[in-house]
Amino acid sequence: MIDTGDTAWLLISAALVLLMTPGLALFYGGMVRQKNVLSTFMMSFALLGIIGVLWLLYGYSLSFGPDVGGVIGDFKFAGLMNVGQEPSDTYATTVPHLAFMVFQCMFAIITVALWSGGIVERMKFSSFLLLAILWFTFIYCPIAHWVWGSGGWLATWGILDFAGGLVVHVNAGMSALALAFLVGRRKGFKEGEPMEPHNIPMVVLGMGLLWFGWFGFNAGSALTSGGLAASAFVATFASGAAGGVTWMLLAWRDRRPSALGVATGAIAGLAAVTPAAGFVHPIVGVLIGIGASVIGYYCILWRTKRSIDESLDVWAVHGMGGIWGTLMAGVFASAAIYGGTDGLIWGGADVFLKQLAGVVVIGAYAFGGTWVLGKLVQLMMGIRVPADEEVVGLDISQHGERAYGGILP
């Protein structure tokens, strides 16, 4: 039975989540050097088209089609067959099946775009596209099915992931780390050449759009427009706010309260609350946000010290934030918020252990699987641009454009 309120909210949420990918392009684009900003943008914008179409063709079916052995969906929904105006009998049963399908589409797009942050400023665009398609097919779709698909083995087991702490953030974060190792450091990174963010206002604006879209991401994942959506909405807001201010204070203690720090902290908080948003009391969002920023901050210091060039900290911010939030969902989940599941503090020790196992399984599959796919692409067609093209910048060498004109007009 279609509920018009639920349908309106889910369609709006889908549009909100779509806006996050341009937001991510701004967020990442501002952090790279001027010569690579368009290349960084393209690693998000090209996927709006590619992953969008693949999702309609087969991605939705692999992720949410009828279960095959707990590991993957079948092809019943390929090419939107059997996906229409009537509700699905399994997912979001109060909205048109098409609305649920397109809402999920936006998650797939931004998850692929997320890990591009690990390899910006040096990965060849053609290799990036091939890897994005392989990764979407063999990493994203199976994981989405395991965690969210009806009959998926982790879903059946009782893993909690409200809006994508595992499917999106742990997944993208660990994948970015694997690719950073595989692709290697940017030229000059280890030698201490400055890799200056070329436009911090762009980063902060991107953060604003991401935060706005995140309400669709998390509160939309209630799949209804009632109290649960409101609860997830507030938890999301709380965590973003607490994350931003925590990071600012950490930076202030070490030096100055930086704008880049506030932007990063808010994203860390938002990523971390994603798996927990609809399971925990909204005030727990504050704790999740604080923890995400402390963890993210020290992870960045650590990886910088080790000269690991996971360039835009997808691992530190999204990966570690996602792990933290997934575990906190296991601690603070409350049956009063979302029917049936009590976390560690309410006596549900098994729930916490399952969350821990989920983190290990998804983290390992994402890291290992991505490394193998990346290696395959590297052997087939190379994965980096040549050194001289890297020096010139990928905007000119890969895309034949420059972001900011020189001599007038």
Partner: protein
């Protein structure tokens, strides 16, 4: 005629421009430049931790003056652009062979 090239702190541009105007020197070309001298670079903040930028923003003033104004212009710029710290910048004086005013075709000191 001499060309005076002064690389100064950006915030000193306005005081220098005013003081030169008081001397009757009104024409000048100004550019935003990056440079380094004894001050070296500057340490900035990344998300967590720091990085170093080796060049600092400066302003370059280029002004061509007749011989009798050279000494006064230099002392004025020096006085107005000075803080006494590293990073105040430098002044270079270069001989100029000729000058042409494009609108009228005037040459030499008349064109300055």
């Amino acid at each position: 005629m001499k060309k005076i090239e002064a690389v100064i702190r950006p915030e000193k541009l306005e005081p220098v421009r005013e003081a030169l105007a008081d001397l009757g020197i009104r024409g000048m070309t100004v550019s935003e430049v990056s440079g380094r001298g004894k001050q070296m670079g500057i340490t900035l903040q990344w998300r967590a931790g720091e990085y170093r930028v080796e060049f600092l923003p400066k302003v370059k003033i280029e002004v061509v003056v007749v011989e009798e104004d050279v000494a006064r212009a230099i002392s004025t710029i020096t006085r107005k652009a000075k803080t006494g710290e590293r990073g105040d910048g430098k002044i270079f004086i270069i001989p100029v062979e000729n000058a042409v005013r494009i609108s009228s075709g005037d040459q030499g000191e008349d064109a300055v």
